[in-house]
Structure formats: C-alpha cells, structure tokens
Symmetry: C2
Subunit: 253 residues, 2 copies
Amino acid sequence: MPTPPERPVSVRRYPCEKCPLRPLKIFREFEPKELAFISRFKKGELAVDKGATVLVEGSHSAHLYTVLTGWGFRYKLLSDGRRQILNYVMPGDLIGLQGSVMGEMQHSVEALSSMMLCVFQREELNELYSNHPGLGYDITWIAAREEQMLDENLLSVGRRSALERAAYLIAFLGSRAKSVGLNGSQKLNLPITQQHIADTLGLSLVHTNKTIRKLINRKLVLWRDGGCEIVDIEGLMQLARWEGLGEARRPLV
Amino acid sequence: MPTPPERPVSVRRYPCEKCPLRPLKIFREFEPKELAFISRFKKGELAVDKGATVLVEGSHSAHLYTVLTGWGFRYKLLSDGRRQILNYVMPGDLIGLQGSVMGEMQHSVEALSSMMLCVFQREELNELYSNHPGLGYDITWIAAREEQMLDENLLSVGRRSALERAAYLIAFLGSRAKSVGLNGSQKLNLPITQQHIADTLGLSLVHTNKTIRKLINRKLVLWRDGGCEIVDIEGLMQLARWEGLGEARRPLV
DNA sequence: CGGCCTTTTGATCGTTCTCAATGAACGTGG
DNA sequence: CCACGTTCATTGAGAACGATCAAAAGGCCG
C-alpha cells in the first residue's frame, strides 16, 4: 500500500554540524565552507514509516534525500507485478539523484524500517555545482559507487548459483552496514524478509527459503526475530567468491 | 586474448569542433566556452582493434574515454571464468569514469568492433569541475543514465523469462543504436555473437541459441552475417513489456 | 584443404518454479 | 484472556525451464 510522500517536517533535530554520521571514519572530512553550504542546502528532515513509499517510479520529485537513519530499498516493477529489488539504501546514502538529474524517477524506493531523511532542494543542485565544485565531484563519486554496486549485483544475479547469490547478498549488506556502524556489538542483523531476498536475487520465495536453510545448516547465518543475523561473513564471502567492498573513504552529502 | 591498451595516438582526425557526433539531435548543444574546454581536455585519439581489451578490471587508468566510433562492452568475471556482460558502449558513451573517480576499475571493457576513442586526461577532471560546473553536472547526468540502464538490465536478468530477456536486450541495443544514428537506412545490425547475448542475459549459450530461434520464428529478428538484425522492434518491446528509453537529449563530453 | 569460430540440434540432467498446505509469531478487538 | 486475521517461514510434490553434454554443420580465412 503505497503511502504518498509526506511533506518535509521543518524541525531539525540533526543540524549538519552535529551530524551523527559525519564523524564516522568511512566518510571523508569536509571543508567548513562545504559544510556550511550543505547545512544551507538542507531544507529539513523527513520521517518515514516502515513500509512507506519514499519515491515512486515515474514521479518528478522536487527533492533529493540523504538517509540519516534506517534502511530502505530501490526497486522496479514489471507491468504484471514481478518485482526486482535493485539495491538497498542505508545511512549516508543519497536517494533520488536520478530523478533530480534526469527529471523523472525510473525506480521506486520503500522504507524497510522507519527512516529519517535529510531533505535537499533539487533546484539548488546547480548552485552546488557552481559554487562548490568539490561537492559536485562528490556527487559524481557517489553515482559511480552506486554503479559499481549495481555491476556487482548484476554479476551475481546473472552468473552466480542460488546459494552463491544468497551468500553474496548477505555478505554485501553486512559489509555495508558495518561500514556505517550499524553493527550492534559484533552481530549484524538485517531487517529484511525472505521475500526481499527473493526479489533481490531473482529467485522464487520458496526456493529462496530452501537456499537460506542451506546457509543456516552450514552455520553461516541465523534467522531470527524476523531478520537475518550474520554468523560467518568470511565463509559467506568465500562461498560467493566475493572480494568485498573497497575500503575507500567516501563523501557524505 | 587481452591486449594491453595502446598509448594514445596524437593524430587528431576529429577535432571537437568538427565532431561527427555532436550535431546529432540526441545530444544537447554546448556553449562555445565549454566546447573550447573539451577540445583542450581532449588529449588525442585511440584506435582499438576488434576484440582488444580497452580497460582492465583492477587497473588504475590515467585516462577517460569517449567513444567516437564502434561498439564495445563492459563486463566482470568471476574467479572461475564465468562472465557477465554489464552493458554495451557505443558512440557518445563515456568509458572509464569509475576508474577516474574512484581510483580503480571494477570492470573491464572490450571492443566488439574496431573503435575510435577520444582520450581525456584524468587529472584534468578537477579543472573541469572547477571551471565548468555545467560540464560537471553533465558528467553526473551521464553517470545517472548509466545507472538507469543498469537498473533496467538487472530487472531483466532477475525477473524476465529467457524469451523476454532476449527480446528486451535486442530492443534495448537497437534503440540505443538508432539514437546515435547507427542504423544504415532502416535496418539495425548488431555486431554481437550469441555468446555475448548469453553472457549478458545470464543464460547458457545453448539455451540462448534456442531462445533466439524462437524470436526468429516469430519474425522479430533475423540472424545473418554474424550478427543480429532487427525486424520488428515494436514486437520485441511488447514481448518484453518494455517501455523504451527516455527521449531526453543528453550531454556529450 | 584444414583449422577455427560460431551456430545448430538432440538428449538427458538438475536446478528452480509453481502449487498447495501447514505452522509460528504477532497484534487487535471482543 | 482468547479468537481471529495477518504476515512470514517452512515443507513436499510435481512440473517446467534452463544447464550440460555431445556432436555436427556452416562460414571464413590462411
């Protein structure tokens, strides 16, 4: 049940100067001037409920968002309802760039948990490019990183077996979550259902279930509390023949 | 047989002012200042033989290329040799942006036909962003477009049947080729083997052959002269439930 | 002519899908 | 507190799609 996007709340509980994400070592440091611009660029915060639709394919959104907290996913639908999840979004990720740059969203975004988003005004992107070329470069960097993740996903869906695919996906999400500090102590808990995994891997729900059971039997993951917990990420990576994400520091807009 | 990238030839048979691509209606018009910068940004031309490797996964290329003529494809390999073709490149496309922006190529690029590439110096990207924000924005635009194509491909490989996938791919390549004027008269001829199609769709070669035969029997395509000829692109799109590419004019760097 | 690459075909195998049903966990309203 | 609906996970059986194996045919080029 798609919920229409809320209008941004104007309350700003997280001023950019006190951004909880920025101190993470994975993000590059910003010049004070850049930070000041970002702070001005930011129009407010938007709270999104679990299950709500953040952006809809075909819409012309006037906004660009950065995820502050929570998880979501990008997906596309075929006209008969088949769904393909393209990628997941988590804290620090930019959403809606495609719509901002190319005019119309070609995919939808849904919240996997409740989320808090920073809201930016699409029109001011031009000013960003004009006055802060470093930030413009950063946006390209972010787009290139998204492309890299998609390449990896496409390799997986196209050429890995069901078991390898599942192992890859879980290791991939675990690595990303860890890099933004989403691991309570050591254990990574992914807030996704098996239906999400199926729609990401291009498999049926039933076969996905049987595949995950194999991962559980191999003591690579656990399934509890309605989500997936990673036990042995090294084992998952080895099974999937996956090298892991690059460790480069990245920009946070 | 991967051929190491040649060093750029300095001969410039195609000065930017006389670029054969720029007049095409699909590309947006550039300011004289922008054109002058691009012309200075361009370091030369590189001729690549059919079958040669243009960029290698893992390498740190100092160059960024725009395709002037010819076809190629981007791909990734698993350690046991399974290959996934990620996307195709044709005139007007930028290649190597990932390597330029993020430091290391995460995929390889191979020439499907002989190609002519415009060579740009990676280091000068910063100057581009600083002095020509409009061009910086364009590069982001190009990256977002690539992401959009990948989304579409991922949907296809993940959720379409073999027949739909093949129809989608051929229609997709045909549409792109047409938009850059690669249709000799009306007929579109794609210079790819069935092995390429198989590696793009995530299918085996044998099954790909049988699938293409069905398309031929339905009079949607022909196969001749070692390549694919499109007969009925509407029929292909309908079979794949594909809406077609957006018609927006795009930048050409 | 002989060798290579690509396409084609048939036969069999196995992975994954579909259908159908059940079970477990949770929240809600009576 | 319990009955009920809902969502998500699980299981079995049979069917279908696509993979693999093997072989041959066609085209191209030296």
